[in-house]
Symmetry: C2
Subunit: 205 residues, 2 copies
């Protein structure tokens, strides 16, 4: 049996560049495979079944919820989005490293469902950068702006629940750091006990 | 105050190539500094004070033992060898990453004295390789050969106490893996809590 792969969860505040970093990482690391989400929304022009999403009916999605076949899911503007558990677990069992690129709410759900995952929080280069991004995106309604800032601050505060924090100052540098994390995680003794036991036995025997 | 550095402990069976890998790593990673041991043996031709060892008297060494100024020490063929605690801790406080290249007995002592260190066990490419190395080095006395093999097997069995296991199949590859481990360890959330707290406060405030 192959050694099980790593589940790598890449998250961080909205707009930090998770998608761009994830894409660069998939190009750099051929051992890594992206988990494709299921959604009930309609495909947009150019989106392909099984590449961008698995497009399913609301009924099918809700059956999968009841069957606990999501590592995490959410409803956003009336559409469901979720990470299919069985597909991910099958790839992990085959020894593939699987990456999820999801928002912090989803990441917290995955921590509960799969605590042995590798949880990486992507930070913008500075707090000022994150603030100005939120301000630029926001409406002119002062109250909702304060809410957005408070929500972002809370997301960053919850980064303490993750295993690693990576600053996205440059895509290439962030990508290198995440690649190093994946390499290091594969070298952990806890993931190589069988190798060590077989080795000790063979030397001694 | 600088963020404290990492104490990286590189160990493994005798002859696995710890010294060669360590030297290559120091060339690759300018942030890394080698801990220089104290010894009571005389300098060999070409050895330099403070570079290869700190050469001290038996009295000075024994005073340092009593003052608990060793992270680990051992007596080998009538000479003391030890890792000076204060020098290492000073470099760590200055934010330097410090590497110790020591035998498994020493590494186990450091685990007790400094459990927050990063413990890496270097393995030969195969058990057969380790066996044949021991056999080639051994005498023809069958009994002592069995003892050596049993000791090596026990050292490998104790590798489970380390954090990481790295196979030294090629020096360059082993060096890359250890470099990745150091990069990843520096990105751990547990080592970046102040950054995250300051960040969350600045975004929210």
């Amino acid at each position: 049996m192959a050694k099980p792969g790593l589940l790598v969860v890449l998250s961080g505040p909205s707009g930090v560049g998770k998608g761009t970093v994830c894409k660069a990482l998939l190009e750099k690391d051929p051992q890594l495979v992206l988990s494709v989400s299921k959604t009930t929304r309609k495909p947009r022009p150019g989106e392909k079944e099984g590449l961008n999403y698995y497009f399913v009916s609301k009924e099918e999605f809700e059956e999968a919820i009841l069957a606990q076949d999501f590592l995490e899911y959410a409803e956003v503007y009336g559409h469901y989005y979720g990470t299919p558990r069985q597909k991910v677990e099958k790839m992990l069992q085959q020894g593939r490293n699987v990456i999820l690129e999801i928002d912090p709410q989803g990441a917290l759900q995955v921590m509960k469902a799969y605590p042995q995952g590798v949880f990486i929080f992507l930070l913008p280069p500075s707090a000022a950068d994150l603030r100005s991004r939120i301000i630029l995106r926001g409406t002119e309604d002062q109250e909702s702006l304060q809410k957005r800032l408070a929500a972002a601050a809370q997301e960053v505060a919850q980064a303490e629940k993750y295993n690693y924090v990576v600053v996205n100052d440059r895509i290439e540098a962030a990508c290198e750091r995440i690649y190093a994390i994946i390499q290091a995680e594969m070298l952990k003794v806890s993931r190589n006990k069988e190798l060590l036991q077989a080795f000790a036995k063979e030397v001694g025997g």
